[in-house]
Symmetry: C2
Subunit: 204 residues, 2 copies
């Protein structure tokens, strides 16, 4: 893990810094991550950080942007992978779960940033991510509704909110237990119930 290679090009160093913050976020409260902790983990001095980022907020924005990019890429791939809307939704759900299992620091980072009032750059990135994610889920739901395979009176915004909510609920439970496996273990059962909620009634 000790990535203490020195004199990296600026873009690579920025990437290493972002990685380091994500690694720290998996181990501690993101709100308590200090520039000293980041530099220490990298084996560099604090000064090196500020050569590549104007301030801590800029680091936070880069971290959020990176998380958003990776998650969005995977989500879009998953959304197109299914043969039916329900399969796409299921693939999207589990790709999101896998992302969180691989990057356990991201949800906490996300929560922490959304709690901040006003508009920090990182918070704006987080909002953008949520909105585009919501649109993606909404389009799949709409498709399923139109194809007649979903509940015909399905309220798209509610269902999209529920979709995001069930993931958040799982994250919260894993925060509680402190164990990373919790979320992957509970995911299938919870998704099955969500599926029951949105699919066509069996006698309608």
């Amino acid at each position: 893990m000790a990535n203490n290679v020195k004199y990296l090009p600026a873009d690579e160093r920025r990437a290493v810094i972002v990685d380091t913050v994500l690694a720290l976020a998996a181990e501690m409260n993101p709100a308590e991550i200090t520039t000293a902790a980041i530099a220490g983990r990298m084996g560099l001095s604090q000064g090196a950080l500020f050569r590549h980022f104007q301030n801590k907020d800029a680091i936070w924005e880069a971290v959020m942007a990176r998380a958003a990019t990776v998650l969005t890429e995977r989500a879009e791939a998953a959304a197109q992978s299914g043969a039916s809307p329900m399969e796409s939704l299921e693939a999207l759900f589990f790709s999101h779960i896998n992302f969180i299992v691989e990057h356990p620091g991201v949800p906490g980072f996300f929560f922490g940033e959304l709690q901040r009032p006003g508009k920090s750059p990182a918070r704006e990135r987080a909002k953008e991510l949520m909105e585009s994610y919501g649109r993606l889920v909404g389009s799949i739901l709409q498709e399923g509704k139109e194809s007649g395979r979903f509940f015909e009176r399905l309220d798209i915004p509610s269902a999209a909110g529920l979709f995001v909510g069930i993931i958040q609920g799982l994250v919260l439970q894993s925060f509680l237990t402190g164990e990373r496996e919790t979320i992957a273990k509970r995911a299938p059962g919870v998704f099955a119930l969500f599926r029951r909620g949105i699919e066509r009634g069996r006698s309608e």
Copy 2:
């Protein structure tokens, strides 16, 4: 709002401090609430705080304990109010939503505390609350399942997790928009979908 009455008895002062923290948590990131901010809002000096609490962690624990007490009382009352398990579940759901609308600082406080690793007193309180809440939901679900009104193959832990998750999803959306009304407006539609997921199939 300015509660700057001086020379309150110790127990009343402690209650005022807890109220003040909850009020601040509704306006700012709980992680950024300082003892200076609390004292300033009350119109007292910082020293006054530490006459009534040993340290900041003790204040945080008291805040969490108070939130847990109020929420638990309301939840238990709601759980017993319904004529059927589904009605009880619905009453529980909306009492929780109302609690959050009235105390908008609590969810953020909760998230922030759960993100902290190790075991702070406040975090332990939060875990206790979640566990007893989960048991309450689980018992209603079990009752509904046994009475034949819920899905007969319902997985109780998944459904309880889903119940908590849909509330978290609504909270997250209200964090995003920054508007307090969002959560109450979206709640009915999301609960309807949850209900569809757990109730008996119409042709089974």
